[in-house]
């Protein structure tokens, strides 16, 4: 039994009484919690977890396996924060609790060390991530992947490893940080001064989405600065018990962007956007950085949020058809398109494209961006939009949750895929690389015939001339 008394310093970082007291245990969060829905047990609910954190923080309860298990079972999707009328900041509590659990060593020192190494040394370092991604790319391109999958080699080690390997995203042929120039100028006059954070996963695994984002922004009259010295946003580390390292990255990013003149910092990755919007809070009171962080965070916009607010001019040159939607989007030589002063619909749709939208937790719950992407999508010509049942229910991706808790994540994914199947949509739109990877995996695992793309990719396809 690990005694609290041995870790008095650690307990200090747990939320203090005023924050904990804000939860008045009404239970309205229970309905939105994916883990409570599975177990129907109070300890797997936000209310139960807050009570446990409160007891540990007050020294009434000792840290235990049960406590650690429930904190890690939580997806940290923060649906409960959206549901909470009292404004309890649950996500922050759970993340702090995870720091304590990791420090004390629940979950095994080795596991924590591996997780920390992977996040600190691989994800956070762009070159290392690119190196590993290139290895993965080779693995995928050389036919080794096909071979290993066909003989089921990984099954020998564990069934989960065999499944998790399939979760590994398809690596892009070219990484986007090499393709995107530090300063990109719009086609036409400069209407918006923007900056761009290219993310880690977006850069290596979803590089096309970054190219699509840049292209569409250029069409809208955005000058885009993409500082080469930007780093990973730190979100995966912050959410997984390594806040120190996350804040180091935050400071690096703030310094990298602060040198430039821009009004909006565009992010196309919900997790990164959410975390960067949180810098202001996380660095509050830190000398030299508090002010800069506030300025930085206030400029961060999800790309759909930016579109909905600014309603930039775009001409849609083609209405998407079944054929073009399955064609792989590649960065083409841009063609000049004249800009209008508002959304213009110059094509009458011949065939409606059936789409639906899945809320990324870090977009809806963490950033409260929910209506904006829907409004943008619905305003596109030739779109038949169907609302997804339980659109705001977590898909199970949840950062690295689908890797570290494969079975629990799969249960959530199955539910998501059934809902997607019921919409009869051919395209699922979502604004986060994690969700995209997870739902793509779900299309194979549960045999659902849909394409999973970022909304920006849909827009790119509609404006680019064939």
């Amino acid at each position: 039994m690990k005694q609290i008394a041995r870790n008095p310093e650690l307990l200090k970082i747990l939320p203090h009484d005023d924050i904990l007291q804000q939860c008045m245990h009404c239970g309205l969060c229970l309905a939105t919690c994916p883990t409570y829905d599975l177990t129907k047990m109070e300890r797997s609910s936000p209310r139960g977890r807050i009570f446990m954190i409160k007891s540990v923080a007050r020294g009434e309860m000792e840290l235990s396996e049960t406590f650690a298990e429930e904190m890690n079972f939580c997806l940290d999707c923060q649906a409960c924060e959206t549901a909470c009328p009292a404004g309890v900041k649950y996500g922050r509590m759970v993340e702090t609790a995870r720091v304590v659990i990791d420090e004390v060593g629940y979950g095994g020192k080795f596991g924590i060390a591996v997780k920390r190494f992977a996040l600190r040394k691989i994800v956070a370092s762009r070159n290392t991530l690119k190196f590993f991604s290139r290895l993965l790319w080779l693995y995928q391109k050389t036919g080794l992947q096909k071979f290993i999958r066909s003989i089921g080699l990984l099954k020998l080690f564990s069934k989960n490893l065999f499944e998790i390997e399939k979760l590994s995203p398809v690596i892009a042929d070219k990484f986007s940080d090499k393709q995107i120039k530090e300063v990109e100028l719009p086609y036409g006059e400069v209407k918006y001064k923007t900056a761009f954070h290219f993310g880690c996963l977006m850069n290596t695994m979803f590089a096309d989405i970054n190219s699509d984002t840049i292209e569409v922004l250029k069409e809208c009259g955005c000058k885009i600065i993409t500082p080469k010295d930007q780093v990973c946003c730190g979100s995966l580390m912050g959410h997984n018990g390594d806040m120190d390292f996350a804040l180091k990255l935050a400071r690096k990013n703030i310094d990298a962007f602060d040198k430039h003149d821009y009004d909006y910092l565009i992010s196309n990755s919900a997790g990164c956007g959410a975390f960067m919007k949180d810098y202001a809070h996380l660095l509050d009171g830190v000398p030299d950085y508090a002010e800069k962080a506030k300025r930085f965070s206030s400029k961060v916009k999800d790309v759909m949020e930016f579109f909905d607010e600014q309603k930039p001019a775009l001409i849609f040159s083609s209405v998407i058809s079944k054929e073009s939607s399955t064609e792989k989007s590649v960065l083409k030589e841009p063609k000049k398109i004249s800009l209008q002063t508002r959304w213009v619909q110059n094509d009458i749709p011949e065939k409606n494209q059936a789409v639906t939208y899945h809320d990324a937790c870090h977009l809806l719950h963490a950033q409260k961006v929910g209506t904006q992407p829907r409004d943008v999508i619905k305003s596109l010509p030739g779109i038949k939009y169907t609302e997804l049942e339980e659109a705001s229910w977590c898909c199970g991706s949840a950062g690295i949750y689908n890797v570290v808790r494969y079975d629990d994540a799969l249960t959530q994914l199955e539910r998501k895929m059934n809902n997607i199947r019921n919409t009869n949509a051919k395209v699922v739109l979502t604004g986060n690389p994690g969700c995209m990877g997870q739902i793509k995996y779900g299309t194979q695992k549960f045999n659902v015939d849909v394409e999973v793309i970022h909304p920006i990719t849909l827009i790119r396809r509609m404006i680019s001339h064939k």
Binding site: Q21, C26, G27, L30, A31, F51, M52, S55, P85, G87
Partner: protein, 478 residues
């Protein structure tokens, strides 16, 4: 509770349904009621009727208390454990067993979530009206045990109006089946209605037969702002007097408006002293006519702004925001003590003034909102349970409010139940003969006083052990 009793309990439900770690007991030490906590000795999730019966028989032998629990959203402490008790959690009993569209009934397990049932039957063009604020979380079993109300109570009534039959395990372990699909049934005592609202003191509900009605085809939602509190109350009286029965007439005062707006950000008027949220439903042209009459009455009573919700989405947004009122008030202060005083609706304007007076005289912050149409107010004291002086002032304010409600011919609780938090006022309301009858019934059914003891009233001289309440230390309002 002895270790051997715990072992027996474990063998009844199986080790995967038995929990007694500190963590598991702690997370069942509360429900939705502020300031009440007590750890149970163990928590069990029985999987069939026989297990519940065996647990209850064991409780009689080994003398421990049994507290049934649904989602734990109650507001009177009904599912807060007592000393030497175990908690029976029914949340996994969540199947809709049958929807009979010939008889318009539904058999459900007690753990079915109220909102989920509504969604399911509405797909078939049917309607289950009771809609407590926590409808997306709370369970039918808990609704029946507390005779839960909701926003639509004015026109459609409360849970008891929709319960046709109940099955439950009695305090001696027997299975009671009462009621059925008959719309008329006068055979013997009306046990069914007696069970509704018994707050888990008479048995553990295992199955419920509910009445459904056809879903109204038309709904119009109105929102009206007022600069004066009394104008809003007068509007309510005038609408009732005009023989219109809206399905909903919700009242919110300025404090509540601001807290909800902080949370929901739907553009409520922060400066208005009160708003009314009204809804009429039904079929045909009568709905629009009623809405028009209501609009005129609101205008006549100086409503500063009247809005008609144009889409279902907009109307749902307003209603959802209203349902969060209680929790949203926690934005101001960490502890929100919500009460449930109800008066005949003609007395509503007086009662609203009395609540304002209580806040002034006892120097406490009170947000007031509620179901104006049926006289059911939810004055909510915004305080901090760590500040003992504040809490005492709050209790004094509520003593005053309850006394005034009783004087006006009202009641101490309209829909939350007596539980622990209001049992001290029950005698004043029910009178000695009333409370004696309740106690005799309880004692004859539950000889050893094992089922949710200490709730509603205290049975003396049998000692229930210490209860999770500190009210005893507070002197009654003179």
């Amino acid at each position: 509770m002895t270790d051997s009793a715990k072992q027996k309990l474990k063998s009844i439900v199986g080790s995967s349904n038995y929990f007694d770690s500190y963590e598991d007991r702690m997370v069942y030490s509360y429900d939705g009621t502020p300031t009440l906590h007590q750890m149970p000795e163990a928590v069990v999730f029985p999987t069939d009727e026989q297990q519940i019966s065996d647990i209850i028989k064991l409780a009689n032998e080994d003398k421990f208390a049994v507290v049934p629990r649904g989602a734990g959203t109650g507001l009177s402490g009904g599912s807060v454990p007592v000393e030497n008790s175990i908690v029976i959690v029914m949340t996994k009993w969540n199947k809709i067993l049958e929807v009979d569209d010939k008889n318009l009934t539904a058999w459900v397990q007690p753990g079915v979530i109220t909102g989920a049932l509504q969604k399911e039957v509405e797909k078939l063009g049917l309607f289950y009206p009771p809609d407590p604020g926590s409808l997306n979380v709370c369970t039918i079993g808990g609704n029946v045990a507390n005779n839960a109300g909701g926003l639509r109570g004015l026109k459609y009534g409360v849970t008891k109006n929709y319960v046709l039959g109940v099955e439950m395990i009695l305090p001696n372990g027997d299975l009671l089946k009462t009621g059925g699909k008959n719309m008329k049934d006068v055979a013997g005592y009306n046990l069914r209605d007696f069970i509704v609202g018994s707050e888990g003191t008479l048995g553990v509900i295992t199955k419920v037969l509910l009445k459904l009605i056809p879903k109204p085809s038309q709904t119009i939602t109105l929102l009206a702002y007022f600069d004066k509190l009394t104008d809003s109350a007068q509007s309510v009286s005038d609408i009732i007097a005009a023989h219109i029965t809206p399905c909903m007439m919700e009242f919110l005062d300025n404090t509540t408006i601001n807290c909800i707006e902080d949370y929901a950000k739907i553009g409520l008027p922060r400066n208005s002293e009160a708003i009314l949220l009204l809804e009429v439903d039904g079929r045909g042209s009568a709905v629009a006519e009623d809405a028009e009459t209501m609009k005129n009455i609101l205008k006549k009573n100086n409503a500063s702004f009247i809005k008609v919700a144009t889409t279902e989405e907009e109307s749902n947004k307003l209603k959802t925001a209203r349902r969060t009122a209680f929790s949203a008030l926690a934005r101001k202060k960490p502890t929100t003590i919500l009460e449930d005083a109800t008066v005949p609706r003609s007395e509503l304007p007086v009662m609203i003034e009395k609540v304002t007076e209580a806040a002034r005289v006892f120097d406490v912050m009170i947000g007031n909102f509620g179901h104006a149409g049926d006289g059911n107010l939810h004055p909510t004291c915004l305080t901090d349970e760590r500040d003992k002086k504040e809490i005492e002032k709050a209790h004094r304010a509520f003593d005053f409010i309850f006394n005034e409600a009783i004087k006006l011919g009202g009641t101490i609780t309209g829909e939350h139940g007596t539980g622990l938090s209001k049992k001290h006022f029950l005698e004043k309301l029910a009178g000695i003969p009333g409370i004696e009858m309740m106690k005799k019934i309880k004692a004859s059914i539950d000889e050893n006083n094992i089922l949710n003891p200490g709730k509603i009233f205290t049975i003396s001289p049998k000692c229930e052990g210490s209860l999770p309440i500190n009210r005893e230390q507070i002197k009654d309002f003179a």
